[in-house]
Symmetry: C2
Subunit: 214 residues, 2 copies
DNA sequence: CTGTAGACTTCTGTATACAGTCGTGTGCCA
DNA sequence: TGGCACACGACTGTATACAGAAGTCTACAG
């Protein structure tokens, strides 16, 4: 919908708008060659996305996440992905299963050493999972969360052996969903996200000293 | 912050803006005696709150919830409240426990037959619980969800015996949290919300024929 | 040298005007 | 009489101008 909103969101996610940067409406307007009106709208939406925040002094800045906050985001995501998996097992359609399979097969074909779309295709799998839950507010919430988490480089996918492990876990998850075993699906999804959290946080803590990556 | 946003949100929650009503910017602007600019901002924020939605034709309407969607909202809330209770048990401070106790004692003192602030004080208890989880994204998400659910009259609190039962369940929940028993706290909270869901949906379905309440 | 007051600068909030798009209705032609 | 085209109207998206709040800097006085 809003072109500027999408552009700015991408610019934040991909780091072109620096963390902590003061976002002054007139400056942003000049930068993107539009007037203040669309800038305001974009900023409001980004604020509700949790990608920018108002400082007490009234200014708006690109949100800085501490390690603690990243941990909280992942904790939340763990229970939401578990829930999504459980409901997917209960509510899936045949089309949902096909979509999951197809996306995971795409993932299997990729060579993590050379592919540069690991994050996108992995996200596609999770979106397929969310969708299979057939719970709109849940899908919406997971999307929001994902955008906040995506603010950070997804280097964990390049860890040696990680990609293959992910594809295998996805296999097990699909199988549980197809069998309608909600409990097992929830467990697998929970463990899956817990591993992602631990890897990510190890990464994050290691990067704490390199300010430009944080 | 935004006065108009808050006013409109309240007007939607309390039914002064009718469900399904077409929200045309200029009309709203006249109605609230402001210009279109703040109206646009308020509408965008309400849209992200899920209180209004764009129809494919481009118009914005006050969102209509089907029984299925209400069910989904509650399903989501059940797992989030469970999560909040679990983390509260793990992360609570002494102040959190005091707050929970105090709010529940306030609830105990009320006579559900005559009090007209049942919803507010019950909400205060749950907010205290969320807060005790010390997980900001979770608190944020629960608040958003609550606003969507609040769109509907909370008549379930007036069911005979329901209020006393709620206070007792809260007692058990507080005790589990204080003991640090996350598993038990999560279970109690989950059951608590499940009961709320079932009562609410029974109510909701019974009201389906009375269009003005739906 | 330090504290306070006042003005200037800067930013956000709001109003309004203008442009573009989309749907609908009417009129004309086949 | 039916279909197509053109025009008008209504609504949203965008730009810009104006107002008000708040912070800062400087100057003057104690």
């Amino acid at each position: 919908m809003n072109q500027l909103y999408l552009t700015m969101r991408q610019d934040i996610i991909e780091g072109r708008l620096q963390v902590g940067e003061q976002l002054i409406e007139t400056t942003i307007a000049q930068r993107y060659q539009v007037s203040r009106t669309p800038v305001r709208e974009a900023l409001r939406r980004l604020e509700q996305d949790g990608l920018v925040e108002r400082s007490p002094r009234g200014g708006i800045r690109v949100k800085v996440w501490t390690a603690d906050e990243m941990f909280d985001l992942y904790e939340l995501r763990i229970i939401l992905e578990s829930g999504a998996a459980r409901w997917a097992a209960e509510r899936k359609t045949r089309l949902d299963v096909i979509r999951l399979r197809q996306t995971n097969e795409e993932m299997r074909k990729l060579d993590p050493a050379v592919a540069n779309n690991l994050r996108d295709v992995n996200l596609a799998f999770h979106e397929a999972l969310w969708r299979a839950s057939h719970n709109a507010p849940l899908i919406d919430t997971l999307g929001r969360l994902q955008r906040q988490i995506m603010r950070h480089p997804a280097s964990t996918l390049k860890h040696p052996g990680r990609w293959a492990a992910i594809v295998q876990e996805h296999d097990r998850l699909i199988e549980a969903i197809e069998r309608g075993d909600g409990e097992r699906a929830a467990n697998i999804a929970g463990e899956h996200m817990t591993e992602a959290r631990d890897l990510r946080l190890a990464n994050y803590l290691a990067d704490q000293d390199k300010p430009n990556l944080a």
